[in-house]
């Protein structure tokens, strides 16, 4: 088992592929076809394109605050790819790659960041929770979902995300502990992107690794190269299978880096050095997967350019649709609080409608 070699206290980071797309551990490469890897690669590229597009639009003043994913695509896509169809995904707020892979429309995602609640109204069959802004609070929902699977005797697994900053919260620790006690079929993925806004990972905790926080809850953990799609896939796969077969929760630390800003409101040059960013640029998860696929002969620079072209185009079109959606309708801010809207809310709504009529 991987958790035995790369567990919390071994200080080893699980890697399958190096920075140049060279396979270091052929024995551990998951059994996916080239075509399947390529599909995952495409989702990473799509994520990147959607990101780039959002940032461009934001600079044009057409998008509001946006939290970019650039650099973290493998951590997201690799982990989400290891899930079965009916499994649940519980995001933090920076998991675009995972969302796209799990069937959330980019349109929904853009709509959310554009500032409309309908961006969190996913279709019934998409078992993905909305963004959770209060850091780490979502992990408890993930544990509850997983506990319910157990209680109902269903075999679904829940995969949940949190950032390095989130590991300092009480909610993170309570969630892991509950998961352990109730043997909940849940996989926690820390996207350790080295920063919580401006606060460097070293200032979040004296723990040498974040995965060692699993020890507190008595659950297994694994430290994986979060920029290695194969490692993330393999680590998550093992954890998901353990969970599904009754083995309970696992904590995965995906060691990665946020290449961009925290959000579009943030200026990372205030708190980190360019050299650091450059060092991590070399480890770009997309770059190395592209090198791998190219070497395998299933992909080329030309393919890549036209894919990027296509995705960028699509992203822009999706955004145009979102932009055309305009403002939130007044009734929508009232009518979704309860199954039956209580009288006082209806009245507040009607009074406001009346006001709007009068001032027109």
């Amino acid at each position: 088992m991987l958790v035995e070699q790369y567990g919390p206290l071994h200080g080893n980071m699980f890697q399958i592929m190096d920075e140049n797309g060279i396979i270091l551990r052929p024995d551990l490469v998951p059994e996916l076809s080239d075509q399947e890897w390529l599909e995952l690669y495409k989702v990473m590229v799509k994520t990147r394109c959607a990101d780039d597009n959002a940032l461009k639009l934001q600079r044009q003043g057409r998008m509001l605050t946006y939290a970019p994913n650039t650099g973290q695509e493998a951590a997201q896509v690799g982990s989400a790819a290891a899930m079965a169809e009916k499994d649940w995904l519980v995001p933090a707020f920076r998991e675009l790659g995972a969302w796209l892979l799990r069937g959330v429309d980019l349109e929904k995602v853009y709509l959310y960041w554009y500032g409309n609640e309908f961006g969190s109204q996913f279709p019934e069959h998409v078992r993905v929770l909305p963004i959770a802004v209060p850091i780490a609070s979502q992990l408890q929902h993930a544990v509850g979902i997983a506990m319910a699977s157990n209680i109902k005797g269903e075999k679904d697994v829940t995969v949940a995300y949190v950032g390095d900053g989130g590991t300092s919260t009480g909610d993170f620790n309570e969630a892991l502990n509950f998961a352990g006690v109730f043997n909940a079929p849940v996989v926690f993925i820390i996207q350790n992107n080295q920063y919580a806004i401006s606060v460097a990972r070293q200032k979040q905790t004296r723990a040498e690794t974040l995965v060692q926080k699993a020890v507190a809850a008595g659950i297994p953990g694994i430290l994986a190269d979060g920029n290695d799609l194969m490692a993330m896939y393999a680590a998550t796969k093992e954890a998901v299978e353990r969970a599904r077969s009754g083995g309970g929760p696992t904590l995965i630390e995906a060691y990665t880096y946020r290449l961009g800003a925290h959000t579009t409101s943030d200026d990372p040059t205030k708190y980190r050095q360019d050299e650091e960013v450059e060092q991590w640029q070399v480890k770009d998860p997309i770059r190395r997967m592209k090198a791998y696929l190219t070497k395998r002969g299933v992909w080329s620079e030309g393919d890549d350019l036209s894919l990027i072209e296509q995705y960028s185009q699509e992203a822009l079109e999706v955004f145009r649709k979102v932009e055309a959606s305009g403002e939130t309708r007044l009734e929508d801010i009232f009518h979704y609080h309860f199954q039956e809207t209580p009288a006082h809310l209806t009245e507040q709504y009607e009074e406001y409608v009346q006001y709007l009529k009068e001032v027109e």
Binding site: S120, Q140, V143, I145, T158, E174
Partner: protein, 325 residues
């Protein structure tokens, strides 16, 4: 019909609903093996097993946070918070998620869940065991907050709460858990959330209260009746949303209004009631609407709590002032 006190009515109702609907699960600290520190869940784990009635680790945020997840994944969790004063670690989950998930997802995810807890004071308990959360929960958009004042109401309201598609906070007045017994039908019945109940008709002044205080208010009304003051007593039953119409109807009749509550006065529930009365029945008012409320102090530990909690005499004193204004 069986005779029950409030806590046994809660126990009976949970039993009924666990038996009827297998998506119902009941959990919290000491809820399983021990059956709750107040014995609200006694016998339920034996009957329904550890999967459906269970103890949790000591972590209120996770108790509520996992309830949210369970509700999302098809269960109807009934979570117990051991005392209302220990809800605060879960406040983030309650405000940020319990109250908001439906609206956040524009109806995609609803949370049919109940958070129940002993509420209020007057039982000579330690610090933090006597808190009134009326305002702190009532002010949160997206929550329903109910509180029964009798065993009968406890059953009817709790069944409504568990069957509601939206989250309901169920505040159990611990002071009257065992104060009296009442006939409670064994069968299924519900009491609608959002409706108040006139407990005593009167013509001179409308008095609104809820939970344990209702019984003191009724005693106060007796005292006042002897003096010729006829108080109409309304049990709010639901703290949020407030049954405004019931209150206004009464105030329009009596012309006077008093809210009586345990929670601290400032920014308390009485303020909301007074505001509603102003908004809906100002021209009927023959005296300033008033509140008889807790002082703006931390609830004293036992040797001082009698200063804080109101008895019928103090209520009568305050109501009398309004009646005689």
């Amino acid at each position: 019909m069986a005779v029950m006190n409030l806590i046994s009515a809660v126990n009976h109702t949970l039993d009924l609903e666990l038996g009827r609907d297998e998506s119902v699960v009941v959990f919290g600290e000491d809820v399983g093996l021990e059956g709750g520190v107040f014995r609200a869940t006694v016998g339920l784990q034996q009957k329904y097993g550890e999967k459906r009635v269970f103890d949790t680790p000591l972590a209120e945020s996770a108790i509520i946070g996992t309830a949210v997840g369970m509700a999302i994944n098809g269960l109807r969790p009934v979570a117990e918070i051991q005392f209302s004063g220990f809800i605060y670690p879960a406040y983030n989950q309650i405000i940020s998620h319990v109250a908001r998930m439906r609206n956040r997802t524009r109806g995609r995810l609803s949370l049919p869940m109940v958070i129940r807890m002993p509420h209020g004071g007057g039982i000579k308990a330690l610090e933090h065991h006597s808190e009134s959360l009326d305002t702190l929960l009532g002010h949160i958009p997206g929550l329903k907050v109910v509180t029964p004042s009798t065993p009968y109401d406890a059953k009817g309201l709790l069944l409504s709460a568990i069957r509601d598609e939206d989250p309901v906070i169920f505040l159990e007045p611990s002071k009257i858990y065992r104060a009296f017994r009442q006939e409670v039908p064994e069968e299924d019945y519900t009491i609608p959330i959002g409706k108040a109940k006139v407990l005593r008709e009167g013509t001179d002044v409308t008095v609104v209260s809820w939970g344990a205080y209702v019984h003191e208010v009724l005693k106060a009304a007796e005292l006042l009746a002897e003096e010729g003051i006829s108080a109409e007593v309304i049990d709010l039953r639901t703290i949020s949303p407030i049954d405004r119409d019931a209150i206004l109807e009464s105030v329009k009749k009596t012309g006077r209004f008093v809210a009586v509550h345990e929670a601290a006065k400032s920014f308390g529930p009485g303020a909301e009631l007074i505001a509603l009365v102003n908004e809906g029945a100002f021209l009927y008012l023959e005296a300033p609407p008033a509140r008889i409320a807790g002082f703006d102090v931390t609830i004293p530990i036992p040797r001082g709590e009698h200063h804080y909690f109101l008895d019928a005499q103090r209520m009568a004193y305050g109501i009398r002032k309004v009646a005689n204004y």
